[in-house]
């Protein structure tokens, strides 16, 4: 296959504005990943291309980017999922809503600041039992979906509410909070709900579903956000 790869590029040391660079790639296989194409460009055409990647297998979440207008992991999407026929164009740009450091690399710090705001770790002041805090399978299942999150930011940076208001805590942080709020062993759920009930918490969500569509782990993000909203509604004032 012949693929024209359009990449939104920006080098803050040289460029005033970002621009589209085009690379014509020959003999692309339908089962090649977009990450393979990007690495081919970086390795054989232009070594200055900046991108993040780590595991390359959809686990670490470092290569989330906007591909043909939708947030995806470059290591999980195959060329045949984007282009039918012998030739086509694939467009790659950095995730929206976060400052671009260089080319496809964005500054993740605002995203992690929101993540830390929900206190995403286990809290229980009771003395630990001799072996472990036991839990029934059904109780574990209650928050199972949230445990799949890899913090790639694909959901938060696909959210129009986040684009409009960068102080909105965003879907990923709410999913992380959900994981602990609905864990029966954790005792700080009410405090987390109070945090998420604030002005920049769950109420900025408009149920647009972009986050659910963008999640490479197929987490029903919008549903989890709705569950948190319901839980806040049930809280005593």
């Amino acid at each position: 296959m012949d693929i024209r790869l359009r990449i939104r590029r920006f080098n803050p040391e040289v460029d005033q504005e970002s621009y589209w660079a085009e690379y014509d790639l020959k003999d692309v296989q339908p089962v090649d990943r977009v990450l393979d194409l990007l690495e081919h460009v970086k390795g054989h055409i232009d070594g200055t291309l900046g991108l993040r990647r780590s595991c390359g297998h959809g686990i670490c979440g470092s290569d989330a980017m906007r591909i043909n207008g939708q947030n995806m992991l470059a290591c999980k999407v195959l060329v045949r999922n984007l282009v039918q026929g012998d030739k086509g164009t694939i467009q790659v740009e950095p995730m929206l809503g976060l400052p671009v450091i260089k080319d496809l690399i964005v500054d993740m710090e605002p995203f992690f600041e929101h993540y830390r705001a929900v206190v995403p770790y286990f809290i229980n002041d009771d003395p630990a039992p001799e072996r472990e805090r036991l839990q029934r399978p059904a109780e574990r299942e209650r928050f199972d979906e949230g445990t799949k999150c890899i913090l790639c930011a694909a959901c938060t940076t696909s959210c129009p509410s986040f684009w409009a208001d960068r102080t909105y805590i965003g879907p990923a942080a709410i999913v992380q909070a959900h994981r602990f709020i609905f864990d029966g062993r954790d005792t700080a759920g009410d405090s987390r709900l109070a945090i998420l009930a604030s002005e920049k918490g769950v109420w900025r969500c408009r149920t647009i579903f972009n986050c659910t569509m963008a999640c490479p782990r197929e987490i029903p993000v919008t549903q989890l956000i709705a569950e948190v909203k319901k839980a806040i509604g049930k809280q005593k004032p």
Binding site: A117, V119, D125, A188, A197, K200, R204, R206, G233
Partner: protein, 129 residues
């Protein structure tokens, strides 16, 4: 370890939770109200049959229809106003500007809902033919 707090998020009012419930409730109720309204106005009747006399005799004469229309007015008004307030909140980040626009919107909404309710339910009215 003590209960978590966050410096990023501090406002903990209940208003948004109530507003969210209002949106869900009014959204569900608006659906049958609007579709029945549309059917009466555009399927079973039309601009050729709906006139002053029709409104007085077929709608206003029955208290049930007036209450129905008042519900439609209130639910659509509150749902629409709160939706607009949410959109504003996304894009207007200056607190004073936001407050000013919301107060103006609130004034218009109260006037529309108040006048509409008076016209439908409360006002003394003698049809003139």
């Amino acid at each position: 370890m003590t209960a978590p707090t966050s410096s990023l998020l501090h406002d903990r009012g209940r208003f948004e939770a109530y507003a969210w419930r209002l949106m869900r409730l009014s959204g569900i109720l608006i659906i049958p109200l609007v579709f029945v309204h549309l059917a009466i106005m555009h399927l079973f009747n039309s601009v050729y049959t709906i006139d002053y006399q029709w409104v007085v005799e077929k709608r206003w004469a029955l208290l049930g229809w007036r209450i129905y229309d008042a519900f439609l007015l209130w639910f659509a008004g509150l749902h629409g106003f709160n939706g607009l307030r949410n959109v504003l909140k996304d894009y207007v980040h200056h607190k004073l500007v936001y407050r000013g626009i919301v107060i103006a919107m609130l004034t218009v909404m109260m006037a529309v809902l108040g006048l509409g309710t008076i016209a439908l339910i409360g006002a003394p009215f003698s049809p003139v033919f």
